[in-house]
Symmetry: C2
Subunit: 528 residues, 2 copies
């Protein structure tokens, strides 16, 4: 079967799929290496392929698929963020909720202000084309978006649960915050900022946050309810899995449709689905969804890094820039320096602040941990690239001097931070947290977040006897938590939430211990 | 995050995903109904949505996504066919291999000739626009493609293994044959058919078949080898699953790239992957791939039927046709009648022929079975629609009278055969095979092809003690097979294949009993 020649991206897709395969294999081979990770491998392979394509097409182009904002936001980002919500350890996430909001929202706003003000001040001396105030604010939003994906490949959820949940949760809230900021900048008329416009800005920001979260929670609960009500006694694994995938995607697309933050929506949909829906399906569906979502997310991540590696060689943009290499290098250096500064300016003061609030000495961040949090937010990735394309390629004007410099600088910052900072992350963590890292040889399972979860999580022992760290895992607070209850208000909230969850939510929506169990259902044979 | 308004199919995608969800839920609710199946539900929902869209857009359009040959052949068809190969019972398939080729290839050629000659003869009396000889031959290929997808929802692999494997295998070979025929027709200059062109045609046909099969087998074996060699001792479920999905897709795209029959390629890739690769991965990957592939296939099928239901109301084509409703009805009736006749003309003589060859009485087809095989090939589906679009919308000329009539007639035949013949299939099978169907209440699992397979298929008991029907399940032929060995040559081939498989193939590529087993690997906890 051949396609019409005019619509034949067949060779591109074939090459891209082959490259994805080789990334996985090479990434696996390099896994034991202390410097490399999957992102850097994909970037390197993409870069090398770009060089080859550049030579074979005689310098005409370096990438095989044209970058498409739609491709990124409609197909590649949803599985990554959904899987993040689906696999996150909910207890840790909610226990550190205030801290995550502090770092993710307040920290991002600090970064945004520092980068915007910094670029306005520092770019004056360089001879760049015209940039208006909206462009500077957009730069602030673009470079506030950290690349949580890359970091997660290095930090381990089981070894450093506190750091992981902070860095990870922060990354998600950070993504959402910077994208909401970016949209607000593109929408509002920023030439005359008055206090009423500023209040409106804050108001729409909060509105985005709350409605997006509620939409995600709502769709997740509906999926749990449907599967619980309909499938009693006659489970069909494929239908369940299909329904979970489609409902998750539906939440994302509905958020897009209503102009909400689809990242927040699908993230909370993932959390709700793993807390309720996941417990209502068959054993086969549980294993399948767990791994299928992780796999989709994994493929999307590699896809993005591979693309960025190829795009780094896009000849058209470099042609414009090559006339003034000094300016471009200057812009990139300024941006990298600002990233280093803004991250420090948000992490260290906020850590100090959060240490002041905390009473227990063990909960406070040590300087080493603060350095790791600082470092983990230095990398810039796919979200930055996507936003930069959105801001600086409007009406296809990458040949415009200012726009071309901004895009090549963004790619330079992304490449440099991912490769240089990324390469140094593993050694740095080994240096700062030596004992924990050396004692555990399971780091090869870092992609496989729940390696033995579906096995230990059999229905018979599922009602609270397993000591894992999911929210609401046990319905009665343990003796030790009584003391903690008095010390921190977060635990009180958690306690009442548990009571509410056990008495109202789980009887309606299912969940651990409340999943419909029917003799003869396909879950039974696993009990032996 | 909002997209640019000019590239916003967000509302369409949202609506489509919501419709897919409702198809799954409604399909599940109607499952116990003896008349309905998932295809008909999807068609009906698509049709109703089409009516609503027609009213809301004031008669301008009825579908929300423009039909795209690329979408169908690049994204929707591969998962369906790959999953078919992956889930097929290999022993049955290879035991009936000659019969499948007979029905699938020879039967399709008979159908092709009858429909081409029939349309040339019968369309003369109707006042249709100009159709050249290529169009008539294309019609032959278009209406030779049976819709195996729809049939499989009705026949059950466990209840009627022989019929299932024949109908199913025939369906795959039939798809491949008709698509190869169709391509050959579009490529060759058919105005002057000489014997040398005819021989060339036959030659390229065989070349397609053999190279496509070899490519699929090759890619499957490479995937098995890579996973066996690389992953010993440190399995990573997500990487394995990602690699299997990507390699399967790669085989399909490579076949597209080399102008081979990608359907055959990906089908054999599926068979090889389930025979070798699947046994080399972790328990989690096995469950995941089994269900994930089935789910992807399931979603693609519903997607196609939903689309066809919507497209049935495309107003532009009906406008052209509505000027001569009699002609259009005549064309559709002639095509339906030809479908009924050609299927009878290929099934009954070929069954008679195959009964002549068979020595064992129990292997021969009874008349009832022949009727079921005949009936199972009456439905026309997505492949016919895709081919018809490809032939009759070249340079976008659906407004041309002849082309418009052909497309609306194709849709009419697909709708009529799927709905009317489809609705009658369940009752018909109940009538013809009453005992078997009533004795098994597991028909709700028909989508869930391997419901308890991953459970019984633990590594410890995997080397031949389970009595399932996969090829090469046991390495020593049972006493009874010695007698069978003497009676039919197919069994001799099977015997030598087994010897070869055990001594050469499986030690190299893994497979049941030869999968690398390492203590402490993630498969271990399942053994308790």
């Amino acid at each position: 079967m051949t396609l019409e020649p005019d619509q034949a991206p067949v060779d591109s897709i074939t090459l891209f799929v082959a490259l994805l395969c080789s990334c996985i294999v090479i990434g696996h081979l390099l896994e034991k290496n202390r410097w490399f990770n999957e992102s850097i491998t994909a970037l390197a392979i993409g870069f090398c392929t770009g060089i080859i394509i550049l030579f074979t097409t005689e310098g005409k182009r370096s990438h095989i698929l044209v970058f498409n904002e739609e491709l990124f936001f409609i197909y590649l980002l949803p599985p990554i963020i959904f899987n993040a919500g689906f696999q996150v350890k909910k207890k840790q996430f909610f226990r550190n909720f205030m801290m995550i909001i502090l770092f993710g929202a307040v920290g991002t706003l600090i970064s945004f202000v520092i980068i915007s003000v910094g670029t306005v001040q520092l770019f004056k001396k360089l001879n760049i084309g015209f940039l208006d105030i909206g462009d500077y604010l957009a730069l602030g939003a673009i470079f506030s978006a950290t690349d949580s994906v890359c970091t997660l490949q290095v930090l381990n959820q089981d070894e450093t649960p506190l750091l992981y949940s902070i860095v990870f949760g922060e990354g998600v809230v950070n993504d959402a915050t910077s994208i909401v900021l970016f949209n607000a900048i593109q929408k509002f008329d920023l030439s005359h900022i008055t206090s009423s416009i500023f209040m409106e800005f804050i108001g729409s920001f909060l509105y985005f946050f709350i409605t997006s979260t509620l939409l995600g929670v709502g769709v997740g609960l509906i999926s749990a309810y449907i599967i619980k009500k309909l499938y009693i006694g006659r489970h069909s694994t494929d239908r369940e899995v299909a329904l979970m995938i489609l409902m998750a995607y539906l939440s994302y697309m509905m958020a897009e449709l209503f102009n909400l933050s689809s990242i927040l929506t699908v993230f909370f949909c993932g959390i709700v689905m793993s807390h309720y829906t996941w417990h209502n399906v068959t054993e086969g569906s549980r294993v399948t969804t767990k791994h299928a979502f992780a796999t989709l997310s994994f493929i999307s991540e590699i896809f993005i890094f591979l693309y960025v590696g190829m795009d780094a060689l896009d000849i058209e943009k470099w042609k414009v820039v090559s006339k003034s290499p000094g300016t471009s290098a200057g812009v990139s250096s300024i941006l990298l320096a600002l990233v280093l500064v803004e991250r420090a300016a948000s992490v260290f003061p906020l850590s100090f602040l959060s240490n002041l609030i905390k009473r227990s000495q063990s909960d406070k961040f040590t300087l080493k941990q603060q350095v790791i949090i600082w470092w983990a937010g230095l990398m810039r990735g796919s979200v930055s690239v996507a936003l930069a394309y959105s801001q600086f390629t409007r009406s296809g004007q990458t040949q415009l001097r200012g726009n071309a410099i901004m895009i090549t600088s963004t790619i330079t910052v992304v490449l440099f931070s991912t490769v240089v900072f990324g390469l140094m992350t593993k050694p740095l963590i080994r240096l700062l947290l030596p004992s924990k890292h050396l004692s555990s040889p399971v780091s090869s399972e870092s992609f496989d977040s729940f390696p033995s979860k579906p096995v230990t999580d059999l229905p018979l022992i599922a009602n609270g006897q397993t000591a894992d760290s999911e929210m609401g895992g046990d319905s009665i607070p343990r003796p030790t938590s009584l003391r903690m209850l008095l010390t921190t208000p977060a635990h009180t909230v958690h306690y009442y939430w548990r009571k509410f969850d056990d008495s109202v939510m789980r009887p309606v929506f299912g969940g651990r211990g409340f999943a419909p169990y029917v003799p003869g259902s396909p879950t039974e044979p696993l009990l032996h």
